[in-house]
Structure formats: C-alpha cells, structure tokens
C-alpha cells in the first residue's frame, strides 16, 4: 500500500497541524478497540490517528486518502458494540470526539447545529435552559457523540414514543469519498418539514461511515415533557407480559418506554435486590413502563398502568415523582450488577446484543436464545425494548477461559442465525459494523448489491470504513 510510508506522520502533518496527528504505537493501541467483545479478543491497530477540527481538515485528508487509497475510519467515543470504528484493514482513524462545538441553538425554531464530537449529554445540557431536549436517548448518552448517533441512527428506550435520531435530523454536512462536500436537507436553510427531493438524510443515517464522513448535523429538538410516571411490573411468564403490554395500549396509554429484563426463572432478582416487594419466585421477566406528557395526561395514564399492573403482574411498584422514577429505572440500568449475580466470575460481553423480532414471537425467541446460551455452556441475561421486540443479549462468559470465548462467539452466531430464520433483524440500533457484516447477504440478498453500488458511487476509491456493513468482497465471494 503506497500510503504506508515511514513518513506517514510527516505527510499527515503537512495536511493537518502536527499536534493533531499521532503515529506512535502507544497512542495507536488505544484506537485498537471499541466496546465490542470482538475487539477485546482481536484488537486492530490503525497506522495513524488524527483529530480533525474543521471541514477543511477532513476534506484535505479525504482527498489525500483517495489518492493513496488509504482506509479512513471515523470514530466518535467508540461506545459502539459492533466493531464499527475498528481499523480492520489498517488505515487512519479520524478521532472526531474533540470537534465538539454546538455552533447554533435556535430555540424559536426548535433546531440546533452541532459538530460530530459533541456528546448527547452535553447537547442536552446546552438545550436545558431553553426547556428543550433531543428526545432519542441512547443509554450511552453521557458518552456517545451526536456524530456517532447519526452514523448509527441511534434510538434507545424512549424511541418507542419519540422515535429514533432519524426523526430529528434536518440535514447533514458530509464529506464524500472524493472529498466533495454534500449538504443534505436543502442548502438554502433548514426547516422542520421537508420532502423536497430524495431523502439523502436517510442515506447517511446508519451508514456507519462507509458513505461519507458526517461533519455537521442539523437537528430538530423538542420541548421537554412536563411530567412523567413509571411502573415496574414482574411477570411469571413472558406471555403474561405480552398480554399486559397489549392491554396497556388497548386502554389508550401511549408509553414513552417499555423496557424488560428477561432471565428465566430468576428475573425477579433484578428488581428484588432493590425492592423486596418485587420478589416473585420463578418469575421470567421484569418490565418498566414509562409515560410522559402534561400533568393531567400522565396522571390518567399512570392510573391505567397501575390498573393493568394489578390485573396482570405478580408484583408491581410505581412512581410519579422524579426521584422515585429514577430509582425504578435503576432496576433496568443495573444490568451489570444483575448479570454478576446470575453468573459469578463471568463478564457480560457484547457480541449478539441487538436483534429484533416480531412482537408475537418475542416470548418464544427469548426462551430459545436462553437455551442456545445454556447449550453452549455460558450464562445469559436478555434485556431491551419490549414493545419493539428488540432484544439485547448479554452473554455471561469467563473470558480467561478460551473455551468460553469460543462458546460466546458460537452463541452469538447461533442467535443471529435463529433470528434471521424467524424473519427478524440482526441489529436494531447498535449497527452492523464489522461483526454483523457476515449476515448481511442472508438478510438483504440483492439489497446488498444496491448497498454496494451506492457505496461505490459515493466512495469510488473504497477508502471509507472498509469492511463494515457491506464489505465489497462479501458480495464478490458469493457470486
């Protein structure tokens, strides 16, 4: 590869300020991982890491990379669990986390423009004085960046009512693989509704850096709900939980979030460690349902939730004041603690953590997933977004044992294949990255051809995050 020269540092320093470039192994090693289990076992070192601070920086770098056919891997906070920011075939990592300015907040128009490195939490902090917020709340919101959220089309618990990031993106500034700058959503200005032309925002949202580098994001933001309430319910069986969630909606409630922890027959321990009253021996599943809105609507919905809980759940507890709601959420947020209690000495790993299935199949598939883990000799805790059929599987393996590492990868593969067989999706919010790319052909068939064609059009030199989502070689191998 003609870009891999001894003078890489010098060469990159002629494009960027030298203090924005690192090539020494100690610094590079810190870019060999993300949150995926895959990267913990198989780190991938880039040849350089750079920290662009302007559109010009990115454009010049991409032009140079195009000439040299050097892989470019954009990276935010690397909170991704799918190997999306790994330099799997070497190259240069673009650490965009320090390019984190919020350049404009227009409270009167309910929109903002920010650079990719600003974190979800910092953006909301800046919006707070205006009574505004960005609703899609990924659970990693304190750390993850808006650029990363856009590249993954992140969503999170409250997307049930409030939608994913794509519902809020008004436009993107993107540097394509040729170095050309593209502004989506109209170049004359941004508005809250726009169907003018093909929706190019959608093209880049969830594209994980394979089509362009997202350098700016225009977002619609919303008024914060005035009130919230939540009810935690413990159910003996997943089927009972299913009936209850259908009943909640039948009675007119529009939940903002409906999250679960499934671990038969010990799910109750997730909640009982916080509240003894939630101890139900043998229970399979815990669900927290949150409603939000104005005071009157929340009071009404809270009453309905409590009615359903009383009729269907074996135990429940609710709150309609902020501190109490926060404490109830700790049950679902404490997945690490709960996992540790399920299998001592094991580590919760992210390998098959993001599948989505049809709602009617949810109980059956949860049981089958648990069985797959058992057959492979490792532990598992499933949790996620109940009312969307979206399952995060936390595999509990003793990672110092190579046999268990293999078993974990095998379990992950079997879960993905089961879900595809059942007509589900391998990923619903965490992205394909590198680790789920092998399933893309089965999942999309000729759709993958079109993804490759789109990529080739926007990234003719094949430099943008190669090997992710639709590796060019995947389709060629299958031909």
């Amino acid at each position: 590869m003609n870009w891999e020269s001894k003078d890489l540092k010098r060469e990159l320093s002629s494009i960027l300020n030298p203090n924005q470039v690192f090539t020494d192994p100690m610094e590079l090693s810190c870019y060999s991982y993300d949150t995926s289990f895959y990267s913990a076992i198989n780190p991938h070192m880039p040849q350089a890491v750079v920290s662009p601070k302007s559109l010009q920086d990115v454009v010049e770098l991409i032009k140079w990379a195009g000439q040299k056919q050097c892989p470019i891997i954009p990276r935010g906070a690397a909170t991704g669990q799918a190997g999306g920011t790994l330099a799997i075939s070497g190259g240069i990592v673009l650490d965009l986390s320090s390019w984190n300015e919020i350049e404009s907040i227009e409270p009167q128009n309910k929109m903002v423009f920010c650079r990719p490195g600003v974190t979800y939490a910092k953006l909301n902090q800046a919006l707070e004085p205006h009574g505004l917020y960005l609703p899609p709340d990924p659970s990693s919101g304190d750390a993850c960046t808006i650029g990363g959220m856009a590249a993954n089309n992140s969503s999170g618990p409250r997307s049930l009512k409030h939608g994913a990031l794509s519902n809020y993106v008004l436009g993107l500034e993107v540097v394509l693989g040729t170095g050309e700058v593209l502004v989506t959503g109209g170049v004359k200005g941004k508005v809250l509704k726009n169907v003018s032309g093909l929706n190019l925002n959608s093209l880049f949202l969830g594209s994980e850096g394979i089509l362009g580098i997202i350098t700016g994001i225009w977002l619609a933001v919303a008024k914060k709900p005035r009130a919230r309430a939540a009810v935690v319910m413990i159910f003996d069986k997943a089927e009972t939980a299913q009936k209850a969630s259908q009943e909640i909606e039948s009675r007119g409630v529009v939940p903002a979030a409906m999250e679960f922890v499934y671990c038969a027959p010990e799910a109750t321990r997730a909640a009982a460690s916080f509240y003894e009253e939630l101890y139900v021996p043998g229970a399979e599943i815990e669900i927290i349902c949150e409603v939000d809105g104005n005071e009157e609507s929340v009071t009404w919905e809270y009453t309905k939730l409590q009615e359903v809980a009383k009729e269907y759940a074996q135990a429940s507890r609710g709150s309609n004041e902020p501190h109490g709601i926060h404490e109830l959420w700790e049950i679902n947020d404490n997945i690490e603690g709960f996992s540790a209690s399920i299998r001592e000495g094991a580590k919760r790993i992210a390998a098959s953590e993001d599948v989505c299935v049809k709602l009617e199949k949810l109980p059956k598939i949860l049981r089958e997933i648990q069985l797959i883990a058992k057959q492979n000799g490792i532990g598992i805790v499933n949790f996620g977004h109940w009312a969307k059929g979206h399952i995060h599987s936390g595999l509990l393996a003793k990672v110092e044992d190579p046999g268990e590492v293999d078993a974990a990868f095998r379990t992950a593969d079997e879960i993905h294949r089961l879900v595809l067989q059942e007509g589900g999706a391998t990923t619903a919010e965490h992205g394909v990255g590198f680790v789920r790319a092998p399933y893309m052909l089965e999942e999309h068939e000729n759709g993958l051809d079109w993804m490759v064609k789109i990529k080739e059009a926007l990234d003719p030199f094949h430099i943008l995050n190669p090997g992710k989502i639709c590796p060019l070689e995947t389709r060629k191998e299958s031909d």
Binding site: S29, D95, S140, E336, I349
Partner: protein
C-alpha cells in the same frame, strides 16, 4: 514489588473493564486533551498493556498515566464498579520502581513524611519571611510580587495547628472526637483547623489532636511511593486508635478519602486493615458530623447578606459521598444566600501534585470551573477541600475576579464569631 506481582494484583481490575466508554464523559483531562490515551478507559488499557509487556514502559506512557488527576469521577460512573484509581496507582508504583521518582517530588514529599519536626520549626519563620516576596490575597493566597502572573501559592499559617492545640476540653462533652488535621491545614490552612475546633467546642464536643498523626499517605500513593505510604498509614492508624474516641473528624476532602480507604490497600497488612475498617466506620467529614451525628438544626447568621456558592471537591463528593451536608449547613445560616453553581461537581483541576506537574493542563481544567463560578456571581465560593480552594483562588485571581474563596467551615465559623460578638 516485581512487575509480575503488580500485574497479578491488578489484572482482575483491568480485565473487568468492558470498554463501554462511560468514563469518557466525566474525565477532566480527557475534556482538555481529547485523545483516547488520555481517557480513563485508555489509561486502564495502557496499564494492562505495559504490565503484560506488550507496550514498553516509556516516558510517553508515564506522561499519559501521570495526566490522571485521580479525581475518581470515572469510578462514580463506571457500570462495573471499576477501581480505576488502584490501576493507576499500581502503574505509578511500577514507574517509580523502574524509572524513579523526580527528585523535586521526592524532596517535597519526604519533608511531609520524614522531616515534620523541621517543617514545624520552619513554618512560623516562613510565615513571616514570605511576606517579603509575596503579597497576601483576601482569601489567604500568596501572589509573587515580581511576577503577578505566576501561580498563586498558599501562605503559611504561622505556628502549625498541631503545635497550637493538643486537646480542647468542654464542660459535659456530648462526644469526644479526634481531629485528623492533614498537612495543608496544619501548615497553611490553620484558620480552617481553628474553625473546626471552635465549631466542635461550641457544639459541646471534646476534641483531641493526636500528636503522632502524620501525612495521610494520599500523595505518596498517587506518586507510586507505596512503601512510604504504608508506613504513614500505619502510623496514623496507631495514632487514631490510641486516641480512643467516639469519632474521627477531618476537614480536607483528599485526606478524608485517604482515611476512609486505608483498608483498601492490601499492602498495609490484614491486622492494620481490620483496624482501618473500624476507624472508617467512625470517621466523618466535619459537615457530615455536624448534620448526621450531632443533628445540628440551626446556625448563627452571617454579619451581612452574602451570596455563597459551593464547589464539590471530587474526593469529598465521589470518594467520601459528602455532598448535601455542606450545602445544608450553608443554607442554614441567616444572611447566607445560597446559589448552586452549574456543574458544581466537576473537577477544579487541582489533583494535588498533578497541578504542580501539569500546571498548564490543570489551569485549563480550572478555567472551566471558574466560568461556572462566575456565572452565578457569588461573593464567596466555598468548598470542603483546602486544595480545591487554593486552585480556585488562583483561577479567580487570574480572571481578575474579587470573589472570595473560603473553606465552607470557615464561613460558618465567621457566623459563630459574629454571634459571640
């Protein structure tokens, strides 16, 4: 300790990290430097790589690990309860063993451990002589007369607190406590110490100041000088145990965290760890003691209306969990108009010796804090840590602000003093 032994000691802690990156959101040095190697996740990874021999121990790695303030904010948000400070300390121990500790640092620390007698004699002399090159600020800081842009230093407090007071007796004491003074309060923040003693006495508490207590060991652990730290910890445990009191009181966030966590260091041995655990149960920060143990419900008024805000020392808030009590006390005083500053719990950039070794970086971190303080326009900014106060005072001085910095207990003592007058 051999590298292999150190690795054995912390490997489990390192392997526990699932690299979720949540720690990135709170790390003060990452916020300024930006690179992954300057994040807690990156540092834990690097320590593992060095201890495993995959990355050589070089000055560059040492520098990255050295940029950690040990503020522990990362530990407060870590979903797996990572003991990141112990990983950092293990690395610094390795670096100290294999590369040595800077002579200046060693000299400064050894003064506090081995030459306290000399410090006791020199402190009153220094307190007089330092007025020649330095000018005292209203908050007790020292500005170098020839270069006002230079870092603001602490003024010596005259005769060390421990030389002034050994035992404060009261009529019919409701409790008997030992005051763990700490080096800063003993030599520089003597007024803070006096305030603590005064307030305790006024609330009917008898106070002893064990004379064999010494440095808490925190700066030694932080510098990787673990062997010396262990000696100090044991000496303190003996001193406080011999005092035979109902409670141990401290007024410095960093010392307090040290005190409450002596048992976490396996190097002190199981016998001392047992003693440390018992001491920990009865160790309280002064505000925590007043609110939770003495159940103080009212305080006198300040002499005039004063807008006050409070900064959370990382060690006090994250390490010792003391958050609300100082605020409750401040709000209790008549004439005190309490204003909560935004992001009161973000680091001020002090980090003990960190601010000496990385002054420019610590200033950058501090300037964010100064902006937050100034945004609520207080007359007095308080905290429960003399170190934070010094650094905040330095930042305010550089910003040309006339906001006064004070330990919150000194402000409360002012109220008591005025009530007496």
């Amino acid at each position: 300790m051999l590298r292999e032994e150190l690795y054995d000691q912390v490997k489990k802690l390192i392997d526990k990290c699932n690299r979720c990156g949540f720690c990135r959101s709170v790390c003060p040095s990452l916020a300024e430097l930006g690179w992954e190697s300057t994040s807690p996740r990156g540092r834990v990874f690097l320590v593992g790589e060095v201890l495993a021999g995959r990355i050589p121990l070089t000055g560059d790695v040492v520098s990255r690990i050295d940029q950690c303030l040990l503020c522990r904010n990362c530990m407060a948000v870590c979903p797996v309860g990572g003991k990141i400070d112990q990983v950092i300390i293990a690395f610094r121990q390795l670096a100290a063993q294999e590369m040595g500790v800077a002579t200046s640092k060693k000299l400064m620390l050894n003064m506090l451990s081995d030459h306290r007698g000399l410090c006791d004699v020199m402190a009153p002399v220094a307190a007089v002589l330092e007025h020649i090159p330095f000018k005292e600020t209203p908050g007790g800081g020292a500005i170098f007369r020839l270069n006002k842009k230079m870092r603001l230093l602490p003024m010596f407090g005259g005769k060390p607190l421990m030389s002034q007071f050994q035992h404060i007796k009261v009529d019919k004491p409701i409790k008997k406590v030992a005051f763990y003074v700490g080096c800063y309060i003993n030599y520089m923040g003597v007024n803070v110490g006096r305030a603590v003693l005064n307030i305790l006495a006024r609330n009917g508490v008898e106070v002893v100041i064990p004379q064999t207590q010494t440095c808490c060991g925190v700066p030694f652990f932080a510098s990787g000088m673990v062997e010396k730290a262990v000696t100090l910890v044991r000496q303190n445990i003996d001193a406080l145990e011999e005092a035979n009191v109902d409670a141990v009181i401290y007024a410095c966030g960093s010392c307090g965290t040290g005190l409450k966590e002596w048992a976490r260091h396996p190097e002190i041995g199981s016998e001392y760890a047992e003693k440390a655990k018992k001491l920990e149960e009865k160790t309280f920060e002064i505000g925590e003691f007043l609110i939770d143990q003495l159940e103080v419900k009212e305080l006198p008024s300040l002499p005039k209306p004063t807008r006050v805000t409070y900064h959370d020392s990382c060690h006090l808030a994250v390490g010792a969990g003391v958050i609300e009590q100082p605020r409750t006390l401040l709000k209790m005083m008549g004439n005190a108009e309490y204003i909560e500053m935004p992001e009161a719990n973000t680091c001020c950039g002090m980090g003990g010796l960190f601010s000496v070794n990385h002054y420019d970086l610590s200033r950058k971190i501090n300037s964010r804090k100064i902006d937050k303080i100034m945004s609520v326009n207080p007359q007095v900014v308080t905290s429960g840590c003399p170190g934070c106060n010094l650094h905040i005072m330095d930042g305010l001085n550089k910003a040309g602000s006339d906001i006064v910095t004070s330990h919150y207990i000194e402000l409360i003592n002012n109220a008591y003093d005025c009530a007496q007058e």
